[in-house]
């Protein structure tokens, strides 16, 4: 480490030198444009299962991805070997592969006008300097809380606490070079409740940039245990059409379907029914979706994407109408649209309703549901993005007169995403954040339940 530098700055300086050499090798081998992404990360993970630390691991990783453009053709190569020989090997592989592929008008690097010029401080780097024993003790607190939550919690599939910190670098032959230090910490808990001839698993987790922002292990353990216990005695319900309330943890998954449909990859490949859908009504007019790449400590905050293009603070859905796609440079060029800085995916998204009131918590949402299905978790199944056809397995509760009557499992829920998005009656104020998605619960007017 050079004097006066923090550890990440010293790593970043080393990565910059490696990236510079890779770019030099590629340009000398005939590339007209070269882009290099490097990620260096260190992670420590402990999983506690029934009071034993069944996984204690630490790993340090380097990975470089190089993209070369030569004669208008593009090739990628990836390696963990940042020695000169290692860099030459992947540069040669990429250059050689451009000889075989066909010219691609969308292949080039970003224009300098498109590149990020300002780099706001996003406060993403809060490494945790704990030993595996410390991390294990933290995980054990969550498992203890789960096991203490009720007599039916007799085992656990594990509590995993993971802490990762690293440095990402993007450099191009055009002179762009920027490093981003980052960290991510997570806790996930999966206790098992035992009933009469049945077992049910509960799952709860949290993720944060700074360890202090993470939900306490006691909270995660208790919520996971409650979810397992609440599912005991789950039964199928009759096949029927009924309204469905998606708990916030399930509604963020529906939001991710919207993102997939509006992403450059699906649009470019013609694999989305939202192609050509800008300005068309996707949700009812009360629904709003905002994206903000610049939230301090946000799990999906970044100053620029894989091509150095900054994201936007913007409305993705305004008054129910789709206002924008999620486009990286390549897909944008293929679609002849302007890139939105989403080459690494969506940034922090928040779904809201102009009709939501502060008191619209989950209990209030169940009163609005009145009689129907609450979905707490979806499993497997599939979504056809070409047609919007939606059919997945689900578990949750049956609600009558606004109150939970009994747990439900082993059923399917089906509809079409166009109808589901269009049928969002209300969005709760019970918002949670999972990765890049923040949403409250969704009340959807009608879905087909497959049961007995």
């Amino acid at each position: 480490m050079e004097p006066g530098m923090t550890q990440w700055q010293s790593v970043a300086a080393e990565l910059e030198r490696s990236a510079g050499r890779a770019i030099e090798f590629a340009q000398r081998s005939g590339a007209e444009g070269t882009r290099v992404e490097v990620e260096a990360a260190e992670s420590s993970t402990v999983t506690v299962t029934n009071r034993v630390q069944t996984e204690r691991s630490f790993r340090g990783t380097f990975e470089m991805t190089i993209t070369v453009v030569r004669d208008g053709k593009r090739a990628f190569a990836k390696s963990s070997d940042l020695s000169n020989d290692g860099l030459r090997k992947i540069v040669d592989a990429a250059i050689e592969n451009t000889a075989a592929t066909e010219p691609d008008p969308a292949a080039g690097l970003a224009d300098s006008l498109e590149l990020a010029k300002v780099f706001p401080e996003l406060d993403l780097y809060h490494p945790l300097d704990w030993s595996l024993d410390d991390i294990g003790a933290h995980a054990q607190r969550a498992e203890d809380a789960a096991l203490a939550h009720g007599p039916s919690i007799k085992a656990s599939k594990g509590v995993t606490v993971r802490t990762v910190s690293g440095v990402s670098l993007l450099a191009t032959s055009g002179g762009f070079s920027a490093t981003t230090p980052w960290s991510a910490h997570s806790i996930a808990c999966a206790p098992v409740a035992f009933g009469a001839g049945e077992k049910q698993i509960g799952f709860w987790s949290d993720t944060s940039r700074a360890f202090d922002d993470l939900a306490t292990p006691e909270e995660v353990g208790a919520v996971a245990a409650r979810r397992a216990m609440d599912a005991l005695g789950a039964t199928q319900i009759p096949t029927q059409l009924c309204p469905v309330l998606f708990e916030a943890s399930a509604s963020v998954e529906l939001l991710s379907e919207l993102v997939s449909l509006a992403s450059g990859d699906a649009l470019d490949r013609g694999g989305s029914f939202l192609k050509g859908g800008i300005d068309s009504p996707v949700f009812p007019p009360h629904v709003q979706l905002r994206e903000d790449p610049f939230i301090r400590r946000g799990m999906a905050s970044r100053c620029f994407d894989s091509d150095g293009i900054p994201g936007l603070r913007r409305a993705v859905v305004e008054d129910g109408r789709l206002k924008g796609y999620f486009l990286g440079l390549y897909a944008a060029r293929r679609l002849q649209l302007t890139p939105t800085g989403n080459g690494y995916g969506p940034h922090n998204l928040e779904l809201s309703s102009t009709q939501a009131r502060p008191g619209d918590d989950f209990t209030a949402m169940m009163r609005r549901l009145h009689r129907g299905l609450v979905v707490t978790q979806m499993v497997g199944g599939g979504v056809n993005r070409l047609t919007g056809d939606f059919s997945r397995g689900a578990k949750g509760f049956w609600v009558e007169n606004g109150e939970i009557r009994f747990p439900v499992g082993g059923i399917t829920i089906a509809s079409n995403l166009r109808q589901m998005f269009g049928g969002v009656q209300a969005i709760g104020s019970d918002a949670i954040t999972r990765r890049w998605a923040t949403s409250g619960s969704w009340l959807i007017d009608a879905m087909k339940i497959g049961g007995v």
């Binding site: 299962t49 034993v52 630390q53 996984e55 204690r56 691991s57 630490f58 790993r59 340090g60 990783t61 053709k73 593009r74 090739a75 990628f76 190569a77 990836k78 390696s79 963990s80 992947i90 592969n97 000889a99 075989a100 592929t101 066909e102 691609d104 292949a107 030993s131 024993d133 085992a155 599939k157 049910q200 698993i201 789950a234 199928q236 096949t239 490949r269 013609g270 694999g271 499993v379 497997g380 199944g381 599939g382 047609t387 056809d389 059919s391 997945r392 397995g393 578990k395 499992g409 082993g410 059923i411 399917t412 829920i413 089906a414 509809s415 079409n416 087909k448 497959g450 049961g451 007995v452």
Partner: protein, 494 residues
């Protein structure tokens, strides 16, 4: 179905594979067995009761065709090792991407330094290389080098042309050819030291068709542990033709029914149903922890007398086959359920030790930085007595599933879920109208009891299954004959 002995007898070149693996992972990095066993000894310290080291080198390449052209390729290489120490059930793993004697010692000291207790050097009892008389389940082909980029692109273009020539409603073809060449070496503190060279070639295709305003697609894949020369023209034509037909059929599909009904599941790839419904629940980690719905039921009758399910890591060139598993144990054929009786679980070294059973060659890991877990290899059900037509003919009203996707299981509750992406109605014993994709859900232990008829048309999938567990993805094989399952829940909209 290839017989174990036959598969091994056909490949008598095990010594050659060991030489290749040793050259790639040990000799090239100036590491020898003395360095490996010294690292194991340091890592064991006083606290550990088992240690192993896993070295792996990977080179992978893929070519992708869309819109009739191959616009991109990718290449990836990686190498590293993971050192694991067990203390009872407690597993500690540290890994490095630098393979050399210094790094081995550094990682070993890191491991020795964790946890409590006093440490003293303990040398392994013996350090002899495992030489087995067993043959190979696949040879050391190098699918990256057996064919250059130009030929690989030509192959993809041929697929595109075949698909477009099959029907004018084909509007696009997306095809990806992937080649992987892996070399591994494992050394255990009990003195075992061995290696393997693992080729993998796979071809995935998605065909999109359009009629009027309606667009549908169908996808599928073939692959296995071999070089590209294994695919004949005729085979490729049949493979692409079947995907075009599946997509065209979907253009005519109507909404699927909803509710509980009889489902006939077609042969081959649909063995993923058994993989999810039964297979995961028979992996020993969930069993010994009591979190699997099949825990503690060895010797019990769990299915009808006609049901026999095996896991076989030795199928010739199979996608899930391994010459040795990732803990250095020879793979084998394990009968999991025999004539309806639960006979065995799939074991890795740790679970086998904890349960007082033999390892079954099912210890697998995604890479050097992941812990081994008990995992499936090639898992399939053996034939029953019925002609497939008899199975379908027995159903008055239900659905016939020819293609499944998106499987998932919760081994604790036993509940599993699939998407029937290619399915038809069965009316009065006949396959009639195609239906849209619908979720199928069931309870694993109930589902195998509800298998009421088994066809005599066992087929193993030709190689597209990838299984993910605890965040680790590995290739597997699946297979089954035509099955009639009563009382499954189908999630259509009609």
């Amino acid at each position: 179905m290839s017989d174990v002995k036959q598969a091994r007898a056909m490949n008598p070149a095990r010594e050659n594979v060991l030489t290749l693996a040793r050259a790639a992972l040990l000799d090239r990095h100036a590491v020898d067995e003395t360095a490996l066993f010294s690292a194991l000894g340091i890592a064991l310290g006083q606290r550990g009761d088992f240690a192993d080291i896993f070295l792996k080198e990977t080179a992978a390449e893929s070519w992708s065709l869309e819109g009739g052209t191959v616009r991109a390729s990718s290449y990836r290489c990686d190498a590293g090792f993971g050192l694991r120490v067990l203390n009872g059930e407690e597993a500690t793993l540290a890994s490095s991407q630098r393979i050399d004697a210094t790094s081995l010692r550094h990682v070993a000291l890191q491991l020795r330094g964790t946890g409590s207790g006093t440490h003293s050097f303990r040398t392994p009892t013996s350090a002899c290389m495992q030489t087995s008389s067993a043959g190979l389940c696949y040879g050391p082909a190098h699918p990256l080098e057996t064919m250059d980029g130009v030929r690989k692109i030509a192959l993809l273009k041929t697929l595109d042309e075949i698909a477009r020539a099959t029907d004018s409603r084909v509007i696009d073809v997306h095809a990806v050819l992937s080649a992987v060449h892996e070399t591994i070496w494992v050394a255990r503190c009990d003195g075992m030291s061995s290696g393997d060279v693992r080729p993998m070639l796979s071809l995935w295709i998605n065909v999109r068709v359009k009629s009027g305003a309606r667009v549908e697609s169908a996808s599928g894949g073939i692959g296995g542990r071999y070089g590209v020369e294994t695919w004949s023209d005729q085979e490729l034509r049949a493979f692409v033709g079947a995907r075009v037909q599946a997509a065209l059929t979907k253009l005519e599909s109507r909404p699927a029914p909803a509710g509980k009904m009889t489902v006939v599941v077609g042969p081959g790839w649909n063995g993923v149903l058994l993989h999810e419904a039964v297979g995961h629940g028979l992996e020993a980690d969930g069993v010994r922890r009591g979190t699997s719905a099949f825990a503690g039921r060895l010797g019990e009758k769990v299915a009808g007398a006609n049901v026999t399910i095996v896991d076989d890591g030795t199928l010739l060139n199979g996608r899930g086959s391994l010459n040795i598993d990732d803990e250095g144990y020879l793979t084998r054929r394990t009968t999991l359920i025999e004539d309806g009786v639960l006979r065995a679980y799939m074991q890795d070294a740790l679970s086998a030790r904890m349960m007082g059973m033999e390892p079954t060659g099912n210890g697998r890991r995604e890479g050097y930085a992941s812990l081994p877990l008990p995992r499936m290899t090639n898992t399939f059900m053996l034939n029953g007595d019925y002609e497939p037509e008899e199975v379908i003919g027995s159903v008055r009203s239900g659905i016939y599933v020819s293609g499944l996707e998106g499987g998932q299981v919760d081994i604790t509750s036993g509940q599993f879920v699939f998407e029937a992406s290619e399915a038809y109605l069965i009316e009065n014993g006949k396959i009639t109208a195609p239906v849209k994709g619908a979720t199928i859900t069931g309870h694993g232990p109930d589902t195998i009891r509800n298998i009421s008829m088994i066809g005599n048309d066992l087929a193993c999938d030709r190689g597209r299954a990838t299984c993910t567990k605890a965040g680790q993805s590995i290739p597997v094989g699946v297979g089954q004959p035509t099955l009639r399952v009563d009382e499954m829940t189908v999630g259509g909209t009609a």
